[in-house]
């Protein structure tokens, strides 16, 4: 019966697609030097793909724990904004807020805001959030086990996989000139900083530059904040409020 809900059907396909790329996170995380339990702790507790990739990306590059934590935390700020949006949209009871907060990620927010009926929004949020949580963790485990069995990451091109993963996370957020300019400036600043400061720090310098660019008003107000998934194909009837998410 639940499967007749359009939001739940969308949520399931989003959950399968997103869950599968937990494979690449698991494999890259053990290649970066985290053990199986540390990798699972990130997927179970931090539970935000971009921040998890950021954490292991800094560690893989030889960065310190505090640089990894800072990059993951700064990248997770958008989840706080998503939390505000979901709180306004679904008006949850107080005792539900902590569980909903944990499931507040790109995918659940995009699925919920793409529906216009409040019940469908609620179903979409929970189905996508819980679905991604279960599959993301399952496939992280599979990826980590496979990564452990593979040995040397460079031999398998896993360092290339990390490059592709970060570009894949960035790509959907570049839809106009201003975000593209922010991306180019931050990439250049990062590379200039690499020889000058310890590993991991260039990323934090780029974050400061990005914040200054944002404060100075570069780009439309919500650019970069759209969830990095597009559960509803352009032109489909269910898009509703997604455009101004």
């Amino acid at each position: 019966m639940l499967l007749q809900s359009p939001a739940v059907r969308v949520a399931l396909s989003v959950a399968i697609a997103t869950g599968l790329y937990g494979l690449s996170f698991g494999a890259l995380s053990v290649a970066a030097g985290l053990d199986l339990l540390q990798t699972m702790a990130l997927s179970l507790l931090l539970f935000s793909g971009g921040s998890q990739f950021a954490f292991i990306g800094v560690i893989a590059g030889g960065g310190s724990g505090i640089s990894a934590l800072s990059a993951a935390t700064l990248l997770g700020i958008r989840n706080g904004v998503y939390g505000m949006q979901i709180n306004v949209l679904l008006r949850p009871a107080r005792w539900r807020k902590l569980a909903m907060a944990h499931l507040t990620i790109d995918e659940s927010v995009a699925t919920a805001t793409g529906q216009s009926d409040p019940d469908e929004q609620r179903r979409g949020f929970w189905a996508a959030g819980a679905g991604v949580f279960v599959l993301w963790n399952l496939f992280t485990l599979v990826g980590a086990l496979a990564g452990n069995a593979m040995g040397d990451p460079a031999r398998w091109g896993l360092d290339g996989a990390a490059v592709a993963a970060f570009l894949g996370l960035l790509w959907p957020r570049i839809r106009a000139k201003e975000p593209a300019a922010i991306a180019v400036v931050c990439a250049v600043v990062t590379l200039i900083a690499v020889p000058l400061v310890p590993p991991g720090v260039p990323i934090l310098i780029a974050a400061v530059v990005a914040a200054v660019l944002g404060l100075s008003g570069l780009g439309p107000a919500t650019e970069g904040l759209e969830p990095d998934v597009e559960p509803y194909p352009p032109g489909s009837a269910a898009r509703g409020a997604e455009g101004d998410a």
Partner: protein, 103 residues
């Protein structure tokens, strides 16, 4: 602090960040400057991570097989390939470049 300590602290901060969104007054959403900074931070960090993972080796800048991964991933993304395919293409490109003699 050990790596475990940083991991658990990052997890606690992540949960707190999300939860905080549910506790602050909805009026904050009307603040365009706050939204703009959160958005540009996301873009800037992902761009920085892409750059470092492609060109940095410790504290030196290098051109190696990872550049092939960057180019191949960009082509895959431009062709609207799904995320997992993009990642696999990146790995394959780096692996092939090394087979062909890249560092």
């Amino acid at each position: 602090m050990s790596l475990w300590g940083w991991i658990l602290l990052a997890c606690v901060i992540s949960i707190a960040t999300k939860y905080l969104g549910f506790l602050v007054p909805a009026k904050l959403l009307d603040n365009p400057r706050m939204l703009r900074v959160a958005g540009s931070l996301t873009i800037g960090l992902l761009a920085a991570l892409t750059a470092v993972n492609t060109f940095a080796s410790g504290q030196t800048l290098v051109l190696d097989a990872r550049v092939a991964a960057l180019v191949a991933a960009a082509v895959a993304l431009w062709l609207r390939a799904p995320f997992l395919v993009v990642v696999a293409v990146g790995a394959l490109a780096a692996g092939l470049a090394r087979l062909l003699g890249a560092v």
